[in-house]
C-alpha cells in the first residue's frame, strides 16, 4: 500500500520568534528552517511501515515555495521514496492545503495519509481533519500508536484525560502526536541517495486549486509579558507571601 506523507517547512523549534517592529508579521529573516517536528514523526512512522513490509511506497508532499525542496530531500534521506512539491507562495491556509493534498490523493490513491497534527508556526491543527473531510474518510488524530491489519487501522489517540483507541477503515487520514515514535537521524549515504530520488513539481493552477485567503492577518504583537517577581529566602517566607500578599491559599 502507498502512504502519502504531507510535510511542512517551518522555523526551527529552537528559534524564539518575534514580531517585526511594525507589527505587520513575524520576523523570520535569516531564521533557521526545518521540517516541522510532527511531520518528521509522520515520515518516520511511514518509513517504519515500509520496513515492516506493510507499506510499499512512501511519497512525501509539501506545499510551499521552492525552498521546501530542502525538507522534501531531508524526508527522502529518512527513507521516503519520492517527493512532490506543490508550488504556492506565500503560505496558503490549511483549507487550501487540504484541497491541494486532496488533489494529490486522487492521483496517487494512497491507503493512508499520515501527517503531523499541527505545524509549530501557525499552530492551527486543522489540515489532517480537513483532508479527511474532503476525502470522505475516517480520521485518527493525535496518534500515539498505530497498528495496520488488512483494511483497518487501529489508532490510539492522545485525548484530554488519557487515551482513546479507534478502528478506521482504510483509506484513512492519521495525524501524529509527539509520542508516536522518535525519528531517526539521516545517515550520510542516505542523504546522498536522497538527492537522486524523483521530485516532481506541480502548480496550484495545474491542480485547479483556488487558494485565495479567507482569513487576513491584520497584525501581530508580542504577548503581554509577565514581570519577574521576587526571590523569597525560605519556605516560611513563601507561605507568608502566598497567604498574605497573593491570598491564593488560606
Amino acid at each position: 500500500m502507498k502512504i502519502l506523507v504531507p510535510i511542512k517547512r517551518v522555523v526551527d523549534y529552537n528559534i524564539k520568534v518575534r514580531p517585526k517592529s511594525d507589527g505587520s508579521d513575524v520576523d523570520l529573516a535569516n531564521a533557521k528552517m526545518s521540517i516541522n517536528p510532527f511531520c518528521e514523526i509522520a515520515v518516520e512512522e511511514a518509513v517504519r511501515l515500509k520496513e515492516q513490509g506493510i507499506a510499499t511506497e512512501v511519497i512525501v508532499v509539501s506545499v510551499g515555495d521552492k525552498k521546501c525542496h530542502e525538507q522534501l530531500r531531508a524526508a527522502m534521506a529518512l527513507g521516503a521514496d519520492r517527493g512532490v512539491h506543490i508550488e504556492a507562495e506565500p503560505i496558503i491556509e490549511p483549507l487550501a492545503v487540504a484541497k491541494c493534498l486532496h488533489a494529490i490523493v486522487k492521483k496517487e490513491e494512497p491507503k493512508i495519509v499520515l501527517l503531523g497534527k499541527q505545524s509549530i508556526d501557525g499552530d492551527n491543527n486543522q489540515t489532517g481533519q480537513m483532508l479527511a473531510a474532503l476525502m470522505g474518510v475516517g480520521q485518527g488524530t493525535f496518534a500515539s500508536e498505530l497498528k495496520i491489519a488488512g483494511e483497518q487501522a487501529e489508532v490510539t489517540r492522545e485525548i484530554d484525560g488519557g487515551l482513546q483507541t479507534l478502528s478506521l477503515s482504510l483509506p484513512a487520514v492519521i495525524t501524529t502526536d509527539l509520542r508516536l515514535n522518535e525519528p531517526r537521524y539521516a545517515k550520510l549515504p542516505d542523504i546522498m541517495k536522497a538527492k537522486r530520488k524523483p521530485l516532481d513539481t506541480l502548480t496550484l493552477d495545474e491542480l485547479g486549486i483556488d487558494a485565495s485567503p479567507r482569513v487576513t492577518q491584520l497584525s501581530v504583537e508580542s504577548p503581554a509579558q509577565r514581570q519577574a517577581g521576587i526571590i523569597v529566602n525560605s519556605v516560611d517566607e513563601l507561605i507568608t507571601k502566598l497567604k498574605d500578599e497573593a491570598k491564593v491559599i488560606s
Binding site: 513575524v26 508556526d121 489532517g128 480520521q139 484530554d160 477503515s169 482569513v215 497573593a246
Partner: protein
C-alpha cells in the same frame, strides 16, 4: 444571525470547557444555541438548560453519537449550520478533532485557539507556541472557531431555564468505530479546571519522586501537572503534560518544582494568576515569569512546604 456552541460531554456530564465557550459566544452578541450530540444524554441536556445567557439547548440522541466520533458528528452539525453565523467549540482535543472537519465540509477556514473576540469577524489567537499573538479577520460566511477555555470565564449556571429542542439524527457514516478508552482515574481535580496546580519537571529525577508532589497537591486540593521533559523521561503519563503540546492551564496558583521553564512549557501556564518556582538553579528561565521564586533543592523545600501548610 445566531451562534451555535457545540457542547462537550461524556453523555453524563457537561464538560466545563463548554461554559467557557459560551462566554466567548456571548461576546459575539447574537442569540446562542447549544448543541448536544450524544446517546442517552438527557442529564447533559438538563445541565445545559441551566446555562445563563443562551437561548435554546438542542439535542440529537443517537447511538452513533455516543463516542463523539468526528465522522458521525460532522454531518449532524452540517445539517443545521446554515442557520448560524458562528459555530464554536472549546479548543480541547475533542473540539480540535471535530471543528476543522466541520469547517471543511462547510468550505470555510476554521480559526483555532481564539483567545480574544474583537468583533464578529476579528479575533486574536496565539501562533508560534504563544510567542506571538495574531489578530485575524475572517471573510467566510460562517465563522468556525475553537476557543481557548483559559481565556474566557465560565458562563454562570443554575438559575436559568432554557428552552429545549431536538435535531434529527443524521445517518451513520461508519468510517470509524470506537474500540476502547483508558482515562486516568484520579480523585484530584482535573488539570484544566483546577484552582491550584503543582507541577514537576526533570528535576524530580524519577516517577517515584512525583509522590512528593501528589502529597503536596492533596494538602492544597490541587491537580498535578508535569513538563514535557518529565513526560519524555517516562516519569508520568502524557495526559499530565502542561505546555504547547500538552494542556493550556491558568489556575490561581501554579507551583513549578524542578521545572527549568522552556518556552514550550511557559506557553502552557504563563497565564496563571500567581506562579511559584522552586528550582536549585538560580539561572533557570522559570524565575523570569515567577511571582515568587525559591532557589532551593525541591527535595528539601517541598517536604518543608507539606509540613508547614
Amino acid at each position: 444571525m445566531k451562534t451555535l456552541v457545540i457542547a462537550e460531554h461524556d453523555n453524563q456530564q457537561l464538560k466545563n470547557a463548554t461554559l467557557n465557550a459560551v462566554t466567548a459566544a456571548i461576546k459575539l452578541g447574537n442569540p446562542i444555541d447549544v448543541l448536544i450530540l450524544g446517546h442517552q444524554c438527557s442529564t447533559v441536556t438538563e445541565q445545559a438548560s441551566t446555562i445563563e445567557g443562551i437561548n435554546t439547548v438542542l439535542t440529537s440522541d443517537a447511538e452513533h453519537f455516543e463516542h463523539q466520533l468526528a465522522e458521525e458528528l460532522t454531518p449532524a452539525i452540517q445539517s443545521i449550520a446554515q442557520q448560524y453565523s458562528h459555530v464554536l467549540a472549546a479548543a480541547t482535543t475533542s473540539g480540535k478533532n471535530l471543528l476543522p472537519r466541520v469547517a471543511a465540509v462547510l468550505d470555510v477556514q476554521a480559526i483555532s485557539d481564539v483567545q480574544e473576540i474583537i468583533d464578529a469577524s476579528t479575533f486574536k489567537r496565539p501562533i508560534y507556541a504563544g510567542n506571538v499573538i495574531a489578530t485575524v479577520q475572517s471573510s467566510d460566511p460562517i465563522k468556525v472557531l475553537t476557543v481557548r477555555a483559559t481565556a474566557f470565564d465560565p458562563a454562570a449556571t443554575g438559575s436559568a431555564q432554557v428552552e429545549q429542542g431536538t435535531v434529527d439524527a443524521t445517518t451513520p457514516v461508519k468510517l470509524s468505530s470506537f474500540v476502547s478508552e483508558a482515562l486516568a482515574e484520579s480523585d484530584r481535580p482535573e488539570l484544566t479546571a483546577a484552582d491550584i496546580i503543582v507541577s514537576g519537571g526533570r528535576g524530580l529525577g524519577s516517577g517515584e519522586s512525583f509522590d512528593l508532589l501528589y502529597t503536596l497537591a492533596d494538602k492544597l486540593n490541587a491537580a498535578v501537572g508535569a513538563s514535557r521533559a518529565a513526560v519524555d523521561a517516562g516519569y508520568v503519563p502524557n495526559d499530565m503534560q502542561v505546555g504547547q503540546t500538552g494542556k493550556i492551564v491558568a489556575p490561581s496558583l501554579y507551583i513549578a518544582a524542578g521545572i527549568s521553564g522552556a518556552i514550550q512549557h511557559l506557553a502552557g501556564m504563563k497565564d496563571s494568576k500567581v506562579i511559584v518556582a522552586i528550582n536549585k538553579d538560580e539561572d533557570a528561565p522559570i524565575f523570569q515569569v515567577a511571582d515568587y521564586g525559591l532557589v532551593a533543592d525541591l527535595f528539601d523545600a517541598v517536604p518543608e512546604l507539606i509540613e508547614k501548610l
